[in-house]
């Protein structure tokens, strides 16, 4: 594939994803609403991701604190550890790690599920049954990821801070009340709110890309594998791009 055709494909694909997103916004508010399916997808995305996100976030909080502590102590800034860890966790580690874990778990799941539904004509069967498959399959999943990822981020932030406290307590003596006092003293509105807002975008991106890849899966099992793979890779890449933009916007306000 030449550079030119690669670039052409990129432009076409971007256009197709944009069309998919526009269709989402056009149809999301129009009845009939697939509320039952939406709740089921919220359960699949949210509840089923809790163990994975929780363990990952807890370990990340622990590791970040363990890694930062010696350097901070070296500079005589050991008392800044809770504040530094909390800002890092709430602003970056919580949202990005949660989104990446969900891109892997939820994104691949949606990509493969929709891909196999497409290949085995289940989406066509829905259409013939008088059900709008885009509403039933895509909109419910995109909405579920958009709303569940921020909830998971809040959960991950909390567990990550506990992990951070555990690390701080193992290496030095600090009570839980002192640790969290210092955490909340340093955390400000512009640390918390932008990170929650950007996690909505992370969730939307994961849902949109995964559904797009699955919904447009080419025939055959190879296509299903490619859809699942593309869902994870593109979602993960876009999470970093959105994060970069979010940092720039937040810094402009600060």
């Amino acid at each position: 594939m030449t550079v030119r055709s690669y670039f052409q494909n990129f432009i076409i694909e971007t256009g197709e994803v944009s069309k998919f997103a526009i269709r989402f916004f056009k149809e999301v508010f129009a009845p009939p609403y697939e509320f039952k399916e939406f709740l089921l997808q919220c359960y699949n995305v949210g509840c089923k991701s809790i163990p994975l996100v929780g363990i990952t976030a807890f370990i990340m909080g622990l590791v970040v604190t363990l890694q930062s502590r010696p350097t901070l102590i070296q500079f005589g800034a050991g008392s800044w550890l809770p504040a530094m860890a909390s800002v890092g966790i709430v602003r970056e580690i919580g949202p990005v790690v949660t989104a990446l874990m969900c891109a892997g778990k939820v994104g691949s799941n949606i990509g493969a599920e929709l891909g196999s539904m497409k290949v085995t004509e289940q989406i066509d069967a829905m259409e013939v049954s008088g059900t709008n498959p885009f509403k039933f399959v895509a909109i419910t999943r995109i909405l579920a990821t958009t709303l569940m990822i921020p909830v998971l981020v809040i959960f991950a932030d909390t567990l990550s801070l506990f992990g951070s406290f555990l690390a701080a307590n193992i290496k030095g003596e600090i009570s839980i009340s002192l640790f969290f006092n210092q955490v909340f003293e340093k955390l400000v509105f512009l640390d918390v709110v932008p990170s929650i807002i950007k996690s909505f975008f992370f969730g939307f991106t994961i849902g949109l890309i995964s559904c797009y890849e699955g919904y447009n899966s080419k025939k055959g099992t190879e296509g299903v594998g490619k859809s699942a793979n593309a869902a994870v890779v593109i979602s993960s890449l876009l999470i970093f791009v959105i994060d970069l933009l979010a940092v720039q916007i937040t810094n402009a306000f600060m």
Partner: protein, 259 residues
Amino acid sequence: MLLCSKMKTTKPDTEKSNSPVVEIIHLKKNFKDTKVLKDVSLILEKGETLVVLGKSGSGKSVLIKCIVGLLHPDSGEIKLFGKPITELNRKELDAAREKIGFLFQSNALYDSMTVRKNLEFPLRRTIKKEGRAQIDKRVKEALANVDLAHTIDMMPSELSGGMRKRIGLARCLMVNPEIMLYDEPTTGLDPITAEGISKLMVDMQKKYNSSSIIITHDMKCAQLTATQMMVLIDGLIYAQGTYEELAESKDKKIKSFFK
């Protein structure tokens, strides 16, 4: 076109009391540069079973997907119950589809749902109106029709190929279809199961008084089910007639289907 008998391929006599359930006039469909359907016209009357024979890639599946609105024709007209489907909006098309049962080649059972949920799916918008008890009754009746009442709470992955096909048929019957479209209903099944499915299709057609279009290259299935047959070669209707007429044909291409 080799015409073995007078089959209706043009507009029906206006004096006729029954309008055709499906009418296709000069249908053309291309995929990029590939001309899949070059010029297909047919009429399906109430109670008829039209079997469409053809090799793989001859455009058979594209034809029935166009009938049900899954694919849009490039030119030509498709009328369902006298109404051109290209002029229907989404709501009207869905209403027309409520009278159609479509058995997909791959059965298209929803993997994440039980057999019960699969059968309820076409009626999900009417569950509140009809009542849970009535829907349950219809599900059980549809499963009894295909002799698989015991599978009601099983997942599709727990069923054999033949059972999946029968469940697919039961799901189609849930809407009391006036038209049944079968896309290679016996493909991938052993001859005994395939014959069982064919006989079931005939029984269900009688029971529901429906009209059918069957896409197949299984001659046993065609023999058991067809009232009319059509041979599709390279996107064109090559021959039409009854099973017996086509079976007696001296034409090489037609004979090759009956070997």
